[in-house]
Each structure stands twice: as C-alpha cells, then as structure tokens.
C-alpha cells in the first residue's frame, strides 16, 4: 500500500511539473459537481453531493433541548462527520479520528461564524430550544472531503423543514416552517504540491500534497480558514487564494440554489 502511494506521489508531482493534473483540468477548476436536496424523507433535511468520484451525504435532525448556559436565547447547532469504512480502505471502524473531527469542525466553523443558521430563531421559551444536528456521511472518498461535506451540510440545512412543536413533543410527521438560513457558506480547499497550488485535490493529488488550505466564504466575507499538513504557505499565497475563493465560492453557491 505504502509503496503504491509513493509511486502515485511521484506520478502526480511529475504531472504538476508539466503543468498538468491527473484528471486533465485547470489548476483552479473543480471536478464536475452535483448537489441533490431532499434525498431522505426520514431526516428533516438531507442532501447528496457528488464531487468527481467523491460522494458525501448529509442528514439534518431536529430535536427539542435546553440551550447552552452562556447562550440562553439561542438554539443549538452540532455538526459531526463519519468517515465510513465503506468509503475507503484507509477508513477504520470506531470513534471519529482526528481527520473526521477536523473535517466536521471546519464545516461547523464556517456555518457558525457566519451565522448562516439564525440560532435565535430556534428559541422557543426559557430553557427550551430547537437543536439542529448535522451528520455528514462520507460514502466514497476520492479527495477533497471538506468542500464536498460543506456543500452537503449547507444543502441539507437549506432543505430542512422544522417539525411542529406541541408542548414537550415534536410532531415529526408535520413539518411546517423552513429552517431560517441567512447565508450560503461554501469552502474552497487548495492543495500545495511542490511549489504549485491547485484547487479541489482528488485523492491521488492529496497523497502528493504538502500543505492544504481551506477558506470558507460568504459573498462578502471570509468566515473560516484552516490550514493542514506539514507544508507551509506564504502570506502572498494566502491573499491570492482568498481572492480565488471568493470567485470560486460564487460558482459553488449557484449549485445550492
């Protein structure tokens, strides 16, 4: 396994030196991407994203609960990600590892810091709020899980209809109001291979990657950033990638309409 990885790494990095990519696309071009909303009836909101051969679904469940002590007038948002063992030979069963935790937290950070979900709209009465659980399920891993997951989570939230509240119960069969979504947050993930930078790395490209940078945007603001990997970026590279993220982010946002 490891030997094959090393060979692929050399192959990808040689291609990049010739200004080419594995799937013959531009350095800042996404793979074909589709977003499908409302794929599960059981969830209050759901979506499937296919980004090249990467496939991710997200489900949203709504619960009744109590608010956090320091935010008594806000509902609760929780985002988790599962790297299912069926999605890749490298994913093992068990509790989420650092990769799954980081993935979920990046997606969560973008949604949370942009106030994409109006959490105050989930307040019902004192000590009673609605809780939004976003579960990201990675079904097929061919690279760039972050952007696919962020799209799936956002699409599932846009698809979410709140169940009716009666006393201390949710009537799940009666979905009335839509969840208030104020922003469409998308992420753009870049990969540095040698000294070249490219958008939307597929799995083979990820193996040759020294550093990764994810930038979450709304049309006007950067709302989350996460660098990963042992490599580094210069500030000039960062500023340039922020510009590209705004441009490419608008393309992704169209997929959410």
């Amino acid at each position: 396994m490891e030997i094959l990885d090393e060979i692929k790494k050399d192959y990808v990095s040689d291609l990049i030196k010739k200004n080419k990519r594995v799937s013959e696309r531009g350095f800042f071009e996404y793979r074909p991407c589709t977003v499908e909303k409302g794929i599960f009836d059981s969830a209050e909101g759901s979506a499937r994203v296919k980004l090249g051969k990467t496939q991710v679904v997200a489900g949203v469940k709504i619960e009744l609960g109590t608010p956090f002590k320091d935010r008594p007038e806000e509902g609760v948002l929780s985002t988790t990600a599962e790297l299912l063992p069926l999605a890749s030979p490298t994913f093992e069963p068990g509790p989420p590892d650092e990769g799954a935790i980081e993935l979920a937290r990046i997606v969560d950070r973008g949604i949370r810091s942009s106030n994409a979900i109006d959490l105050t709209s989930l307040f019902l009465e004192q000590d009673k709020v609605l809780m939004v659980f976003v579960d990201i399920y990675v079904l097929d891993h061919d690279g760039n899980l972050i952007d696919a997951s962020a799209l799936a989570a956002m699409a599932a939230l846009l698809d979410t209809k709140l169940p009716k509240v009666e006393g201390d119960q949710l009537i799940r069969t009666e979905r009335t109001e839509k969840l208030k979504v104020t922003q469409k947050v998308v992420t753009c993930t870049f990969s540095k291979i040698n000294s070249s930078i490219l958008l939307d790395p597929e799995l083979d490209e990820e193996k040759a990657t020294s550093a990764r940078l994810t930038i979450a945007t709304t049309p006007e603001h950067v709302c989350a950033i996460q660098k990963g990997g042992r490599g580094s970026f210069t500030k000039e590279e960062l500023f340039n990638l922020v510009d590209i993220s705004f441009e490419k982010g608008n393309e992704l946002r169209k997929l959410l309409e």
């Binding site: 935790i101 980081e102 979920a104 950067v222 709302c223 042992r230 580094s232 500030k235 500023f239």
Partner: protein, 247 residues
C-alpha cells in the same frame, strides 16, 4: 477577581482595550526553558494569564509500534486543558473534539521544522498542558513547545512561534485575551517560522473582509520577531546557567 459576565462588555474604550493595551500590543510574555527534571526538554510560558507547560520526550521508541515510520521520526502532540484551567465549572479531563483538532494542527507545525528524517523509526512526543487559560492557548502552547524541543536538543530548521489576531469593534487587534476571545468578532491564530515568515498554522473564525484579513495577517507578523526574541533569550539564559553549574 474576575466576574462572569453574560452581557457583552465594551471591548474598546478611547482606543484602549479592556486591559489597557493598544490594538497592536502584546500581553506580558515570560518564557522559561528547562523547567522539568525528567523530560528531555521543557518550557514554561506565562502569557497574559495563561500558564502553560510544555515537555518533549524523544526521539524515543514509538508507541504504539505500528505508528513508527521507517523513514522518519513520528511526531506526536497532546494539547490538553486542565479541568481547573478556566473560570467555568470543572471541565472534563482528557481529550475532547476541540483539543484533538488543536493537537493535530500543532503537530503539523513541528512536522514542518523538525529534521525528522534523522531519527527513523522513533517518536518525538510533545506534551502541552494548559494549567490556566486566558485566550490564545494554542499559540502560547506552540511558543512553549518550540522552546521545549530546542531544549531537548532536537534539530529544527527554525523556532516556530505563534500569536492570535482578532477583530474588536471592526478593528483588527493583536493577541486576544480571554474576554476578547469570548466577545470579540473573530479570532485567527497563526504560527510562523520567523526566519522566512512561512505560515505553519492558520485557523480563523469570524467574519473578515478581504481587507481586514490582510491587515490581521500583517499585524500578526509584526509580533513574531518579538515573541521569537523571548524564546531565544529563554534558551540562552538556561544554557548560560547550565554551563555555570556544570563548569
């Protein structure tokens, strides 16, 4: 004595911040190298009200063994906050989702600078214990861990250090304290290799325009040489003392 506040306090009054600092001013920072006996290298950092201890063991046998890499040393990092480290209720000890993520990104900082290929099949274990937290703990932890690694004699191409920048009242501000962390708009920890200003860690949340982001990064970079100088001083002081004792 601090008071737990629910209402958002005013974070900027007449251009001064809650603790009287200017927008581009660091909190008081003290670094001490070689503070533990058993560890191969260690450091203690007081940064604002942060009290952080970092220790390094290794290169040593890699546990678990299947983690070992035949080409280079594996770097492990464990960042943890003590259950008594904040004014909130007794925290749960042990790792949580936040600390696991932070441990991962800190590990990646040191993977960049350590000459790991010189120590194949071994592990270098970095432990960062936050004893008292006052905002910017991961940055203080990185700054301490770098000194601990140097104290352990582990060869590195640079001595990374870190600082957080954020936004208060629509202005970028350096080195957030706890209150600013809780009530400010946005926070951006950044770790840098001081020799060439390569960015080794970068995280951000909040709402930054393109322009604000640029300003925030530039502001952080102004502080890096100052923090780095204190790291170097701490190491020099420790070795001068050691030399005296050992003759």
């Amino acid at each position: 004595m601090m008071v737990v506040q629910m209402e958002k306090p005013k974070l900027l009054i007449d251009g001064k911040r809650v603790d009287g600092r200017a927008l581009d001013e660091l909190r008081p920072l003290k670094i001490q190298a070689g503070v533990l006996n058993k560890a191969d290298g260690s450091a203690y950092v007081e940064w604002g009200n942060n009290r952080i201890l970092a220790a390094v063991y290794g290169p040593r046998e890699c546990v678990p063994r299947h983690d070992a890499n035949p080409y280079r040393a594996v770097i492990h990092c464990r960042y943890l906050m003590a259950p008594f480290s904040t004014l909130d209720e007794h925290g749960r000890s042990g790792p949580n989702r936040r600390s696991i993520e932070i441990s991962k990104v800190i590990k990646e900082v040191f993977e960049n600078v350590v000459f790991a290929e010189r120590f194949p099949k071994t592990a270098i274990d970095i432990f960062i214990e936050v004893l008292q937290a006052d905002g910017g703990t991961r940055c203080a932890g990185i700054t301490a861990a770098a000194v601990a690694l140097a104290d352990a004699g582990i060869p590195m191409k640079d001595l990374p250090c870190a600082v957080a920048v954020g936004k208060i009242e629509n202005q970028v501000a350096l080195d957030f304290g706890k209150l600013e962390d809780n009530y400010g708009d946005g926070d951006m920890p950044i770790a840098v290799a001081p020799r060439n200003n390569e960015i080794l860690l970068l995280q951000m949340d909040g709402m930054f325009t393109k322009d604000e982001l640029r300003k925030a990064v530039e502001l952080a970079l102004t502080a890096i040489p100052k923090i780095n100088a204190l790291q170097v001083d701490a190491l020099k002081k420790h070795y001068a003392m050691k030399k005296e004792i050992e003759g």
